[in-house]
Symmetry: C2
């Protein structure tokens, strides 16, 4: 069963204390797709410009990602320029050029309309809702959003949230969305907006899952070297949704494993600039780090 | 086997978004002692002033804490006035009056000199080392410190660190002490200073244990209401050391459980102002929350 993602493809310029990379392939849908492709077949809906060439397309195709929904539009691809300093917990955006992304209107290819697993990446909530409404058969729809939409299009975001099963969102944004600075209260208020499954991403501190039945907290993997945090959240979502798509199991126990797989993939991503950490992987490495997470968190009662 | 703690006793004025408390009993040695008293007999070495009356003494005695080492000096008890705002992750100190604490020279009663489990609370590292040298039979000596000593008495702190088995310290201070902003590198560099067991406290994000054999991360307990974070770190240390003293087991597996007991105790402390959350407890509540931590972190591989 394939996993559909709608979101952005971008070229990023990134500077961190460990170095600099220019014009590297990025964007939420890209990180998500590449991460998820280690678990399940992925279909991507996004828009790219005329500067997106065969070598970029090859990155998706080498990972077996279905690019039927990758629309090419006149103009340049979305560009983001950011830097990380100090403990690298937050990116500073130096420049954003929306380019072809500014008028992005996701077109879902007919073959994708029966998708059962869907991730609505961080785009205008009006578009998220529009995509959601075209996918009545979806068994699990997850959504991401950000401060820009929470402050600018809250009503639309709430409409979209009311139609999805899961929300995967940063801690600061969950607090902003809910108006609660306490995590547990923020989670309860957020789940009342619709999504019964809520994953709050906490950067290097890990992620916390709230379901109707329980709370589950996973730490971040303590890495010796974090070179580039760009895309970590989308990579997390890719591992999370990828594992759920692969298994088709939405039980509480499996949602917990999905959070760990999300954390595993994010940990690989941040070890290298751009997609490098996700592209050089092997399936046994993913399993090994999953088991390392078990060792990292296990205690006997 | 009793557990010896050397540190501060204070009266605190605390303001948080949930209210205000004045002249409440606090201080590192107090929080530590009360938390640890749920696990093992505790001996406290500290100094108090003439304003420390029978009702304050009663708090220690009701918990069975040995106060032979609680010295009374002319003058007023150490006072701290602080407030927490927003997400309450950091205290803002409004006023500190050292009072009798300014000239504190810990005197270890003869009966305490054979103590095997020792916690050197956050005091001048020269005093920490002096106490340490009087306790040659100690099986486990843990130490806490803070930015003030790291910047002001680094050489003395390093001398003290070279003599202890364990360091229990805040994340920001571990990074400051080691000069590394990456947690894993900070931990490795810190352990090279002496303590083979390192616990890095991360506030609401939990705690991470570094030992010669492994890394263990525990999340914070997601509480619905955090009224007053004062003393959380010392309470954590009390639960951690209390469990190790009770069991006498310094294995990796038991150190992990000790981290959870520390987290359990800290979670109770912050639910109420001052010591109230630690005083109203029962042993079954502690066990219940320990098991809740298991549910919070468990996943099947």
């Amino acid at each position: 069963m394939p996993l559909l993602v709608v979101g952005s493809v971008a070229f990023d310029d990134v500077r961190t204390p460990h170095g600099e990379a220019r014009e590297i392939l990025g964007g939420a849908a890209t990180y998500f797709s590449v991460a998820a492709s280690w678990f399940a077949p992925v279909r991507v809906v996004a828009v790219v410009g005329e500067d997106f060439d065969d070598s970029h397309m090859q990155v998706f195709q080498d990972r077996g990602i279905d690019t039927t929904g990758l629309e090419r539009a006149p103009g340049r691809t979305f560009r983001w320029h950011g830097e990380y300093t100090g403990d690298m917990n937050e990116a500073r955006t130096l420049e954003t050029q929306l380019n072809v992304f500014e008028t992005f209107a996701p077109k879902i290819p007919p073959a994708y309309l029966a998708s059962e697993y869907v991730f609505l990446g961080n785009i205008d909530p009006v578009l998220q809702l529009h995509v959601r409404q075209q996918l009545p058969q979806a068994r699990l729809v997850a959504l991401d959003s950000m401060n820009y939409w929470i402050t600018g299009k809250l009503d639309d975001l709430k409409k979209a949230l009311a139609t999805v099963h899961a929300l995967v969102i940063n801690e600061g944004e969950a607090k902003m969305l809910s108006g609660h600075s306490n995590l547990r209260r923020a989670a309860a208020a957020t789940r009342e907006l619709g999504p019964q499954i809520l994953v709050i991403k906490r950067g290097e501190y890990g992620a916390t899952l709230f379901t109707p039945d329980a709370v589950f907290s996973a730490p971040g993997f303590p890495l010796e070297t974090v070179r580039d945090p760009t895309g970590a959240g989308d990579t997390f979502a890719g591992g999370f949704m990828g594992h759920l798509t692969r298994t088709g199991d939405l039980s509480e126990a499996n949602l917990r494993r999905a959070v760990i797989y999300g954390s595993v993939m994010a940990s690989f991503a941040v070890e290298e600039f751009g997609l490098a950490g996700l592209l050089r992987l092997s399936a046994p490495q993913i399993t090994d780090r999953f088991l390392e997470f078990k060792k990292l968190t296990h205690f006997d009662v």
